[in-house]
Symmetry: C2
Subunit: 153 residues, 2 copies
């Protein structure tokens, strides 16, 4: 028979593991990213991907989604623009807003990067069953969505 305290302990242990492994992943992410696409300015890739995923968005959206300061985003976007990967289109209804879109070059760069990225993930997760992958994806979505706007700022 399982005691209540044991179940509680199991829960805490799982939380600790999750915390530890997520942290480890986050810390390794930079190195991994650098290996995956040494060409693309590394951080910008993420922003570019998000812009495409959203079919265009504002700088503020990027800042909110990645919890970055607007100044950071501003510079990153400027870098992407200099590389010719994104375009800014002023919103006719509101002159303050500039809508960001990937250029064709941006889409292309994203595609090639995405390819090598997919390959890496495919290799790493090749042994997983489709069910496990799906479940894992769902957990991650659930986890991330939990802290979306609850952040105090």
């Amino acid at each position: 028979m399982i005691h209540v305290a044991d179940a509680h302990r199991g829960r805490e242990e799982s939380l600790d593991v999750i915390q530890r492994e997520l942290t480890a992943f986050a810390r390794r992410a930079r190195s991994t990213a650098a290996r995956l696409h040494p060409d693309l300015p590394l951080v910008s890739y993420t922003l570019l991907a998000h812009i495409e995923h959203r079919h265009g968005c504002r700088a503020t959206d990027l800042a909110a989604h990645y919890m970055l300061d607007k100044s950071t985003v501003s510079r990153q976007v400027a870098a992407l623009e200099n590389l010719g990967l994104v375009e800014r289109h002023p919103d006719p209804d509101d002159q303050r807003i500039q809508v960001l879109h990937p250029t064709t070059a941006g889409v292309q760069a994203l595609a090639s990067t995405q390819a090598s990225r997919r390959a890496a993930y495919r290799e790493r997760l090749g042994a997983w069953t489709s069910e496990d992958l799906e479940q894992f994806a769902e957990y991650l979505l659930r986890y991330n969505s939990a802290g979306e706007d609850t952040s105090p700022r």
Copy 2:
């Protein structure tokens, strides 16, 4: 009936979601960490935690585990030492090696940080069942262990 191509597509989609969500998490991690423990030099926390988790380890182990350059680790450890959170003990068998251990102050700092960290995770994952937590933890372990030493460097 499910077509083979559909199953394949589902797999690819899961991979994309996993990739996207992990990336998002990694990008937010810094901001989250800063919020969770504004006091502790933020990165050092991770290293300190790992030192404790391993019951003492060498700087090289830290570098390998987090995929960091040894110079980076060297400075971080020096910072931790200056803060009085870790101690170095030379290995009598090999004078090159210095074994790192948390000081009592280090253990204490870790404990208080861990507390607030746990609280945040508990809040965020409070609605999850124990089974889901366990499963999620297992997936993360599996994911992380897959890229442990396969990295080309």
